[in-house]
Subunit: 338 residues, 2 copies
């Protein structure tokens, strides 16, 4: 392995100059910088990140923690973050908490603290105060994606507004019997997104002077199968069948479409269906939805972090950063038949 001394010798300068020339290039004359760069390239020199980190305290590596990876949303966030980091010359070290409580503890007690990362991005994770405190104690910037995390800079979409928008779309089309498939309690524990979306739905109804019937809400588990089952119950009722369903995720919305079909109902003729996410299958199913952009969220998280990692964090944004969302109307929503 060829090291900084080799380059210094080859370029006829000191190792200090090589270091300076290769990192930022401040306080080095253009001429020598060029010479050093040429030597480095010629010799195929690559800095040893360990030595560099040890000496400088910068790791050029950030930790990303996700609950699981095996899910469209999380995978997209990570992918976005990875690409953004790569542009900045950073590595991404991935931790996923699928392994349960033990894995979680081990991540926080050993891995994140090994001084491997400059900062941490926590995706859809409700960190305990203890966990947050630990990170803060180490002076490691932390940004959250999609939770609300006490005292932590977090990127969130306004779930209430998202749900309101979706519901308003249905109301504007003329629907008055609008059911909602939301998350069950298990999901509320880790991020109270289901509750927020339900509130948004109810707020939109209320604003339109519609009273939400209690049995027009059904909890499910955010999967296609869960949405299917919930929709079957909703649509199979002999009386007062809803003419529209707002599902809190596209996967549940797709389940609803399939449930409607299996009951012989036509979408959107008999039931309109709208979801949230703009999942990769949404287009195929012609599903109207409120898109959120997970990849972009990952990228943005990185930008925020880079900001914070700079010596003098200028223009720090507020603690809560609102991410965009957008109504996408496809074929699954239409005016109700009279």
């Amino acid at each position: 392995m060829i090291n900084i001394a080799d380059v210094a010798r080859h370029a006829g300068v000191s190792t200090a100059t090589v270091s300076r020339a290769l990192s930022g290039g401040h306080h080095v004359s253009p001429a020598t910088r060029l010479r050093v760069e040429a030597s480095a390239a010629q010799l195929g020199y690559v800095v040893s990140s360990n030595a560099s980190s040890l000496a400088s305290g910068r790791m050029k590596n950030i930790g990303v923690v996700v609950p699981f990876l095996n899910h469209w949303f999380f995978a997209s966030v990570v992918e976005g973050a990875q690409q953004a980091l790569q542009r900045h010359g950073y590595d991404l070290t991935l931790y996923n908490l699928t392994g349960g409580l033990e894995a979680r503890r081990s991540v926080f007690e050993h891995f994140l603290l090994r001084q491997r990362v400059d900062a941490v991005i926590a995706v859809s994770l409700e960190l305990s105060e203890n966990e947050v405190a630990r990170l803060h104690a180490l002076d490691k910037p932390l940004v959250g994606v999609g939770g609300p995390l006490a005292g932590v800079r977090t990127l969130t979409v306004d779930d209430l507004a998202v749900a309101r928008l979706a519901t308003e779309h249905l109301i504007a089309l003329g629907h008055t019997r609008i059911a909602h498939i939301g998350g069950d309690k298990a999901f509320d524990l880790d991020f109270n997104l289901p509750t927020n979306r339900r509130f948004g739905y109810e707020a939109a109804l209320a604003a339109a002077g519609i009273v939400a019937r209690r049995d027009d809400f059904r909890p499910a588990d955010f999967t296609t199968a869960g949405g299917y089952q919930a929709a079957k119950q909703l649509l199979g009722r002999p009386h007062e069948r809803p003419t529209a369903i707002f599902a809190a995720s596209d996967e549940m919305a797709i389940g609803s479409i399939l449930a409607a079909r299996d009951l012989g109902l036509v979408v959107p003729g008999d039931v309109s269906v709208i979801g949230v996410d703009d999942h990769e299958l949404a287009d195929f199913f012609g599903l109207s939805t409120v898109a959120q952009f997970p990849q972009q969220q990952g990228e943005k998280a990185v930008e925020v972090l880079m900001q914070e990692l700079r010596p003098h964090p200028e223009s720090r944004t507020g603690l809560n950063i609102n991410m965009p969302f957008e109504l996408i109307v496809r074929g699954s929503t239409a005016r109700p038949m009279v």
Copy 2:
């Protein structure tokens, strides 16, 4: 930050002893080991991985390279690898090549060579000889998942056998008009899996004395939408409609099921459909399939690597390691109606 010297002082031993006690614990008396461990715990000491790596040459970190993350199969492999690595006390640094050629070069020229990783796992990636050579030159073990990579230890499922098994299942049920939806040329570039699966299909037919009709094969892009379109073509033919479809992925198989339904055909009454993967939606759609176990593949890749990373690699397995697969029969396949 509290360091090894602090622990040494607290435990009344030298830093060398602390180092030994905390890593493996060889050549240390049980008594002092206990004492050191107690001190470390009490002080909240965590080794600086940089210093440790710099001194030892071991990074305790492995690089995983995937073409994209945003896909069930890759995400599952990574998840499996991550969990296995965590058990071994290793970190996982993720590289994805979604960014195109430039990103790819940058990964290989800078990131992987920064001496950050002890080894590399390449998932479904056709590495160039140059790229492989580079890694070998650095003495970095490399294991592939799901390609065949020249000169590299690779985990593969026998795609030919997988396809044969699926097709044989249909033949055994009595089908003779069996269509195949495979991958198009674009996919063959990166891993010639589509070709292998097609060969397996043809081999099974040939063994049963069935001649494969040319127009019973349709290429698609491994997505649900692609499978849907291909199946529409296959099933919409006025004459000699196939009674069964073998799709090279579950997503295409699901597309086929939906296409059949839209044509008013009943699955499996009018058409049987079988896929490959055991995708998370397979169960929901009652899809018969040949399961492969991506998570397990990720774990296995780690085991192989750990083996190789040990001082004296015992019992090295062959270059090609066959991964298991399994026929799972659900409701989408049945005897053809006579």
